[in-house]
Amino acid sequence: MNMESVFFYIIGAITLASAFCVVFLHRPIHNVLFMILTMIGLAGLFILLQAEFIAMVQLIVYAGAVMVLFLFVIMLLNLDDLRLPQDSRIVRRWVGVAGALLLLLLVAPLLGAFVPRLRSGTLMLDKAREVSNTEVVARELFTTYLLPFEIASVLLLSAIIGAVVLVRKRSGKTASG
């Protein structure tokens, strides 16, 4: 039982328990706080998997920006004391679970057939002391994957424009317009 196993089980248990709390707790503030804990746990798992750059990006982007955005929206709309009444149609959702299990049974035999053609050796684990994970990621991102990188920036631009247009108050119309 080496240190990696100990860390994996501890961080994995925390992440799984937090994810369970995200889905099944009732107040949205609690869900967001446990989601932040899940993100931090996942960042820890990424560090265990020797992806330090991605772990830091996960903390900055997910735990630091996306979850704070969720908190803003919950506090802005004052959603915390909304109580949704009991849903009598909840049995329909178990039909969805049954459908998903059936899909899993159909797909499971095919899972071993997909073998990705990766360019092995690009992770440079054996040179981990000289070459940082940031440099390894940058080495591929800015050469082989330069076009997707530029398209991602256009995607972010379109998301910003979309979000601003959606919440803009209409000018020149009445409040009920």
């Binding site: 889905v23 998997l49 684990l125 991102l141 997707p148 910003i160």
Partner: protein, 100 residues
């Protein structure tokens, strides 16, 4: 000794929790968060495979998944705010104008 199967099992469990969140919750914000949980489970799968197959391409696609997830959350929360302004509630069962 932590093998690839450990990480894949954890990732599958997280993904299943996310799917259950999307199916069983009626609060739109919690549904968006469960969607994020699913995306994070997929990220964990990619990073684990990148580590065990010695290829950095798994980590690069994780960066792009994070970009797409951030863009989707921004627009999704804008939609949630707009729905709240119109109806005063974020219960997804009440957004039924297009149901027959």
């Amino acid at each position: 000794m932590v093998t690839l199967q450990h990480y894949l099992f954890l990732s599958a469990a997280l993904f299943t929790l996310g799917v259950m969140g999307v199916m069983f919750r009626r609060n739109l914000i919690v549904i968006l968060m469960s969607l994020e949980l699913m995306l994070n489970a997929v990220n964990l799968t990619f990073i684990a495979l990148a580590r065990y197959m010695e290829s950095v391409e798994g980590q690069i696609i994780v960066l792009f998944v994070m970009v797409v997830a951030a863009a989707e959350v921004a627009v999704g929360l804008a939609i949630a705010v707009t729905i709240f302004r119109q109806k005063g509630s974020i219960d997804v069962d009440e957004v039924d104008l297009m149901r027959w």
